[in-house]
Every structure is written in structure tokens, then in C-alpha cells.
Symmetry: D2
Subunit: 304 residues, 4 copies
């Protein structure tokens, strides 16, 4: 399949539509991004790489990072995770406190904010220095020592992070945060501030698409069964209140972030990252959604 | 792959565990079933069929039937369906009225009771005789003119169906039922009363697993894109409040019914039906869940 | 105090404001009423009666009737009522199903629709002919054999009563309706269809304001403790989601109906009925609310 | 009426029942209190004072203090308060976040935690030093310069106050807290830590029972209309999820605290304070509820 011309055609097609939606504005630093940037990177199982547009520009991957912290925690902690966080879609906005109240402080899944905080809490308990070890984990998978947190994004999010402070303290009130909420939030805001390019994103996520994936040091990131399960969670919970619609229209496991990035993958076929900052009403990249729907249609590569 | 010995081994293994859970008792007629029955049927894309246990015994397929009514409605009505019913997982018990109140009478998806009622309402509006045409649709796909409603099950469910009467009238109060609620409920209770064997179930559902499927008359049931979308909906919404867990542990699109049946499929590989009447706390067949988890693990055939 | 001139002054004052709000339109028959009618009747403990405007015109008292069915049930059944219905304000719209789901089918109080249906169910169980005995109960208190149900209103409400049908069947699904839901609804729709004038309303409700009240036959309607408790329930639950505001601005126990009537009373002082069909956003008579706020302010007769 | 012997008789009667319930344990410092303490003080409009048991022992008045902060804010700010906090009963537990989510950050009333935090925020905005001015306000009304905060209680509550931290930050995320959440919480925890005896409580609250009340300096605390409205709010919202039941059984405006205190009053008749630390399931003093129910029954002094 001529992937390069396929992604170029779709890219041009999407570009011709009006660039709808709005850049996430609740984090001051994110609001400064140029809304017309648009990049795509596709990497197949044979390590062929296809890129177009701003595919080598760094952006804030935000919630996409939650899949990586989940992967590290699953590696370090194992199935014990599921005693404190569920694997069910939320059926609610990503930061709803209602569900926590109904479910006695057990977040529905690890990809909504509350669940990702519980995962951060696990990482703090199971590492010497969660911030350093998490960064190191990503750098090794991506084979790229330049990946880093953005202090300005982390601080910007912290300065207006009242809802997240509320969530974390609410979890603590149920006993489902074991460390100091401030320490958990400090790590959480950094975890979400990771910056990558589309190219770096696809490289980083190949361990979930390729059963044979190993780091340059020859290390396996996760066992196959664990990777399968993380893909299953992405499928059901990766797009907040639009997870069903993403399955319905695109048909791939994936995860979006409010920075406008979307990472999706077809097990044993490819990893694809799309980035465009303007978000639709559900908080997912408008152009990203359009691109991916056209892509799985043209390539007949929905998993269903 | 030696499917026959694989399903026999898993069958024996599951049999050795205690038969946990409870038969659905809220419908008097369902409560009469022998709880120790247990059957499995697997059909692959090359039409090879493998069966074990009570795989040729009829049982009440209940909610599994909702996928069939959805398929017929999608065929007859097209994308207009999605104006009156969503494609998002519910995050709630299958018969919750809360969500309808929050969402102004738009059910989250067509596989929860409220959504299936809206689909019934569509079918009544788009057919001369919904009951007859729906049955005919199934008989043609399954190539089996013996498939039928169970009047005793339909009547039994109606006699205690207060919650469903409430749901249907609640939908009507939002204007999302166009016909008389009593007529919709009459069809709905019949739709859920269809009886099949595991063998008949796998035969019936092959049109969602096999892109080339045609009825004996040579008719295509759904276009590929439509079939993909119904599989995506099953993946996200097929197991009520346990949909995420089914994805996580089994990794296939599927649908369960309170009669103890589960139908699952791997696109372009196979269809599998398991039946055992005792249900777990979430309302899905206990043995069915165990069997399928072992099956996709042994055959490495999760879609993820 | 010169009550006649007080109510005349306030009446003129309210008349000069725009007649805001909208007549209840969800019941076809109610929508036909002339929206500019406006009547007030005040009756004091010494049986002095003061009226102005359309105070002798019949209107549909609707939910005000729930206080009367509650009174009869309390008389016949006693404290056992409170095992199946609460005495707490609802904090929700008058017909919310959410709360029933959370509270396992126990309505928050007897003045919301669900609670009034449970009371109707009690009356059916404790009488030979609930409809006849309830009407007889009111006629005796009011000393007026002309009080009657409106068959056209009852039928009109039934024809569009999907939400009430949903509520009643939902209660039945929790086991909190003992009789046939259709029978309960038949009585419920009639119970709400009673027609009275403002004058008849104040006469009817004097048994809750006057400890010494007796029917012409010399019968006591309720014991003092029971009457006190019904007043307490009206205070907390009489105005749906505006109960707190009514306490705050008017400061009397009372009950409103979607027909535009409001009945309020000051224990040991007076009963007052106001009627004007246009409702505010919370479903209470706009002019009624204005009138009563001015009235308790001018007469310094809030109970607080 | 011989109030002294009435309260003595009821006191003995209540003492003979088992001392049921449990001392509030979520605040470590509160859990240390001797659970068998029990005091009552009644003050009538003619300034006669009747006391029994531990009526002159200090205890933590906790949420009762919210009526005082509301009173000061109403005095300083006026009706503008009601733009940011409602006057409706909550129909939910006192610290529920669900309702805030539904109501976009507007607390249902000023006597639940969230509402009291908004009031604290108002006080910070309208004073130089909210902590000092609030204390001074109480000391002047009570004519007692010994009234004080308990630093140990305030710190104890702060050390485990995750739920309140969550609430305050959640309010801030809706923009309904104008100052720094930490500053608001600091004041809030102090405001709730005030200690008084039953005697001091009744003296302090006479300004809500007596229209003619003035401080020793001759100052009026609130206008009559304002006092009436605060009484109305206490009636509807003073006992969390048991407000309706308190109206139903006792029939007085009042307010409880988790320290085991209850303050209630009959406008133009009396103020009464009861204190016993063991709480019932709804978080209100068990013996306090019993005592007050017997008291209004014996003295026929329900307001209804």
C-alpha cells in the first residue's frame, strides 16, 4: 500500500475543510499555540515511517501520556492496579466528580483524570523518584534522550488546576490516594506536560502495536497479554465521552490529548499520530478525528 | 489450529469449576431453565463448525437479539438512526433511567433496553408488520425457517415488565418514541423472546464476521462499513456495565443476554456462541465469560 | 387588621405588573384556560371571609389535591405511611425519576408525583372505592356536595401522561405500588382533576389552620399532631424545587398546583388561596407568588 | 409554663434511654470528647434562662456557626449573596459534590459545606480580617469576650479535610470562590471551630428569635426581614438530609453541628440549645433530636 500518497491525499482533503473547533484555553500556556499546525506520522511494523505537515514539531501530548504512565505502573505493579481503578468506560465527561461519589472513590478507568492520578500515586509508591523514572522509561522506549517535561506547561496547568486539585483531594478523602495529594498533583501535572513530535509519538507507542518490540537495549516493555489489555482500555476509554464514536467511525484503539494530539494503532500493523490543536466539543482534535476516519476507511484497516 | 480439541479442553476445564452465579429470576419463565446446561459452538470463516455440550439446545437469546434488530433497522433506515440513539457506552446498569433524564431521552446506545426500544420504534415505523418482518429477516440470514418467538417467554416478561414499561413511557415523554408505547413494548418483548441454539446463533451472526457473507438467496445483509460499525458498538456496549472488562479479558466484539447466552466474533476469523444460564453479578453468563477468556488466550485471537 | 383593603391593594398592585410566565401546556385541557383570571380568598380563624377578583370561579386545583389525599391516607393508615414515602424535600424537579433510582423506589415526600402515587396506592388498599371515598371526604370537609372531579381534565392528563405512567411503573418495579399500576394511575389522574374556587379551597383547608375545626357533622378531620405534621411537610415540600424560596420570601406552609392555584396557611390565623394560571419557570403561579410575598410582608405574618 | 420542670423531666426521660449513635470520628480532635455529656439551655423572650446537665460546658459548635457567618455576611453584603448561593434544601448529604456539578457550582444553600465556603469567601472580600471580625461579631452579640476559636480543632479538621479541600477547589473551578482557596479554607476551618456552652449558644441566637434584640451597645444585629429569612433557611436546610424529618417531628427552625449541638428557636418565644455528642445516622445529635421532639410536643410549641 502506498501509505505516503494516502496520507498526503487525506491531509490535503482535510486541509481544505474549515479548521473548526477551538484550542484548549483553560490552560493559559496551551492557548498560545498556533492553531493552524497540522502534522501526521505513520509507522508500520516493518519500521517504515511516513510523515506530512508539522510531523516533526513538538507539542504537549497531555493525556496521551496517561497511557505511558499506565504502562509503567502495570509493568511495576501488575494486576493489583485493578483493585483501585476500573477498566470500564466512564460515560461521563473526563473530569466528572459525580462518578467517583457513586463508585466510592474508584475511578472508572485509568485514562480519565481521576484514574490517572491513582496511577501516579502507584508510581510514587513504587519508585524512588517517580518524575525521573517515568521520564527515563519514555526515553528508553523512544530511544531518545531529548524527550522532556515542559516546566512552563506544568506550572501553567498547576496555576489553574482547581478541578484537578479537587479530584485528587476527593480521591484522598476516599482513601484511594496513599501519598500526599500535593505530591501526586505535582507529578500528575508534569506527567501531562511531556512534549513530543508526531514522529516521536509513533516511535514511542510501537511497543503496543508490535508484539516483537524491544528497546535498543533489547528490553521488552510489556508482556503481550499486558499490551493487549492496554489496547483494550484505549479502545473503550481513550476518547472521554466520544470513545464510542471513535470506535464507530475510526475503529482503532487510541488516545487523545487536549493539546490536539491523537495516537492510534492497529495491532500488528501500524502506529499513527495526528496533531492539530483545535478541539471539537468533546475535547478531541477536530482535524485528527477527520483524518483518522478517512484513513481507516481508505485503508480498510478498522480492527472490526 | 485444532479448534475441536481446544474447545473441548476449555469446556472440561470450565466444567470442573463450581457453577457459580444465579439464573435470571426476574422473568418467571426464564427461572425454570436447568442451570447446568452448557454449550459452545464455533464457526470459522471457511464454514467449519465445532460444537460441544448443549450446543444444539434452544434457549432464550434475549438481548443478543438486539444486535439483530439493530442490523435490520440500520439496513432499512440508515444513519438517521443515530439522531435518536447514541453509540457511547452507558457506564450504568442496562436499565437505568437516570441517564435518559440527563440526556433528554436519547439512549446512550442501541444495546441497552432504552436504545433497543427506540430501534423497535423505528422498525414499527419502517415496516408493515415489524414482528413478522423481523422474524423473516433472521430466518433468511440463518437459512432456517424454524427460528421463532417464544410466546410464553414474551408473555412472562410482559407480566413483570414494569421497568420496561416505565422506560418506554419515559422515552415517549421525551418524544423519542413515535408509535404507541404499548405497541412498541409488545414488539420489544417478542424481539427478546427469540429462541436459538448455539449453532443457530453462530450461523446467524456470520454476516458480521465475514465480509463475503450472503444469504442462500445471494443477498448481502449489510454493507461492510455498516457491519464494522455494528461490531464497534458491540465492542463498546455489548456487556452492559462489564463491557470494558469483556474487552479487557476477552478482547472481542460480542453481546450477552440474560438467558445466559454470549455471542462473540473475530472479524474475518470466526463466530462463537457460548451458553450457560447462571449469570455473574453484572448479568453476564459466568461460564460464558470464563470460556471466552480462556479461548482468546489459548488461540491468541483477541482483536487487540 | 383591615384584610379586605389589604388584599385589594395588593391585588391592584400585582395586576399592574406584566402578567408573566406561561400557562401549563403539557395537559391539553389546562392550556385552554383564560390566562388573565386572577382571584384571591382569605379566611380567618373567626370564619371571616375576604375575596377579590375571580375568587368564585372554578379551576383545576391539580397538585394542591395531594395534600387532601395525604390527609385522608394519614387518617386511615397512620404512621405506617412513612415506611413507603419520606418527608424530606426533593431537591429535584417534581417528576424526577433519578431520585427514585437512588432511593430504591421510596419517594422523597408525598407531595411530589411519585409520592402522591404511593399515597393513592394506600388509599386503594384501604377503601372500598377510593375515588368515591376521596370525593366524599372533601365534600364533607368543605360542606359542599358540588365539589367534583373533572372527567375532561382527567382524560386529557391521561392521554399525555407518559411520564406519570413511567413513574408509576417504575415504583411498581421496586415493589412500592401494591395494586395494578393502571388502577393507581386512574385514581391519581382523577385525584388531580378536582375543581374548586378559591373560596372553596380556603374553606376546605381550614382543618389544617384551626385546631378546633370540625365538619358540619361535628367530626374532627385530623388530630392536632397529624395536622402539624402535614403543615411541616407542606412547608418543606410544597413548591417543588422552589420550596426553599417560598419559605424564604413568603414564610408559610403551602402547596401549589400547575393549574395556577396556591393554597397557604398560617396556623391559628388564616387560610389563603390565590389563583392565576400563568406559571413561573419552577411551575408555580407567578402572580400567586407575588401576591403572597406582599401579603405576609404587609401583614407581618410569616411564621418565622 | 414551668419550663424548668419541663426540661428536667424530659432530660431524665431521655437519659433513661440508651445513649445511641456515635461520636463524629472523622475529625480526630472531636473523637476525644466524653460521649455521655448532655446539656440543655432554654432562654425565653423575657430573658429568663433555664438550664440542666452540662449546659455550661464548652463544646465545638461546628456547623451551627454557619448561621452566624451567614448572618454577618447578610448584614455586610445584603441580597447579593443569593446570586452565588441558593436557598433550597439540598436533598443530599451535606458534603455532596454531585449537586455542585449539576448546578454549575452554585451551592443549594448556605448551610451545607459548599455554601458556607462561598459565605466565607464573601466575608474575606468584605472585611479587612475575616477571622477577627467574625469573632468580634459573635462576642458582641453574646456580650462575651471569652468566645474563641479552638486552634486544635481547626488544625485537626484541616489535617484530614480532604473532602473540604476538594469542595473548595471545585467551587473555585466554577469561579464561585473569588479568593485563594487556601485562604478560604483557613477561615472556614476556624469558623467551624468556635466553642460555646449551651448557655452561650442561646444567648447568641436570641437576635433571631426576638425582634427587639439589641447588643449591649444598643445595636440591632439584623433587620426583621433578614432575620425571618435566616429562620426560613434554617427551617428548610438546617439538618442536612434530615431537615424534613426535623420539621416533621420537632417543627422549629434550627441548626445542628457534628459536635453534637443543636440550636433551635421559636420566633417571638424562645431559643433552645441541646448538646450531646453521639450522632444518629444522618449526623445529628441523637439525644438532641429526642429532647427537642419531646419538648415541642409537651409545650405545644411547634411553629406549625
Amino acid at each position: 500500500m502506498d501509505y505516503q500518497s494516502i496520507i498526503e491525499n487525506i491531509y490535503q482533503e482535510v486541509l481544505q475543510n474549515e479548521n473548526q473547533g477551538a484550542v484548549a484555553s483553560y490552560i493559559p500556556e496551551l492557548a498560545k499555540v498556533n492553531p493552524d499546525q497540522f502534522g501526521v506520522c505513520l509507522q508500520t511494523l516493518d519500521n517504515a515511517e511516513y510523515g506530512i505537515g508539522d510531523w516533526q514539531t513538538k507539542f504537549s501530548i497531555q493525556s496521551i501520556s496517561k497511557v505511558l504512565s499506565l504502562s509503567l505502573a502495570y509493568k511495576l505493579v501488575g494486576g493489583e492496579l485493578w483493585e483501585r481503578v476500573g477498566v470500564e468506560p466512564s460515560g461521563n465527561a473526563f473530569n466528572s466528580l459525580v462518578q467517583l461519589e457513586t463508585d466510592n472513590g474508584i475511578p472508572r478507568n485509568p485514562l480519565i483524570n481521576a484514574g490517572a492520578m491513582v496511577i501516579c500515586d502507584f508510581l510514587i509508591s513504587h519508585t524512588q523518584d517517580a518524575k525521573a523514572e517515568f521520564l527515563n522509561f519514555i526515553r528508553k522506549i523512544c530511544a531518545n534522550s531529548q524527550i522532556d517535561y515542559s516546566e512552563s506547561i506544568a506550572n501553567s496547568e498547576k496555576s489553574v488546576g482547581y478541578l484537578n486539585i479537587a479530584l485528587c483531594n476527593f480521591l484522598k478523602s476516599f482513601g484511594n490516594i496513599k501519598n500526599d495529594p500535593e505530591e501526586v498533583l505535582e507529578f500528575y501535572f508534569h506527567m501531562c506536560s511531556i512534549e513530543m513530535t508526531c514522529q516521536e509519538l509513533t516511535r514511542t507507542f510501537m511497543f503496543l502495536a508490535n508484539d516483537e518490540f524491544r528497546t535498543p537495549e533489547g528490553e521488552k516493555v510489556l508482556g503481550i497479554k499486558q499490551a493487549i489489555r492496554i489496547n483494550a482500555i484505549m479502545q473503550n476509554c481513550g476518547f472521554y465521552d466520544e470513545s464510542g464514536d471513535f470506535s464507530f467511525r475510526v475503529g482503532l484503539p487510541g488516545k487523545s490529548g487536549v493539546g490536539g494530539g491523537i495516537l492510534a494503532l492497529h495491532p500488528n500493523k501500524y502506529c499513527i499520530a495526528v496533531w492539530s490543536p483545535k478541539l471539537n466539543a468533546k475535547g478531541n482534535s477536530s482535524r485528527g478525528m477527520q483524518f483518522l476516519e478517512l484513513f481507516t476507511n481508505r485503508t480498510s484497516s478498522s480492527i472490526f
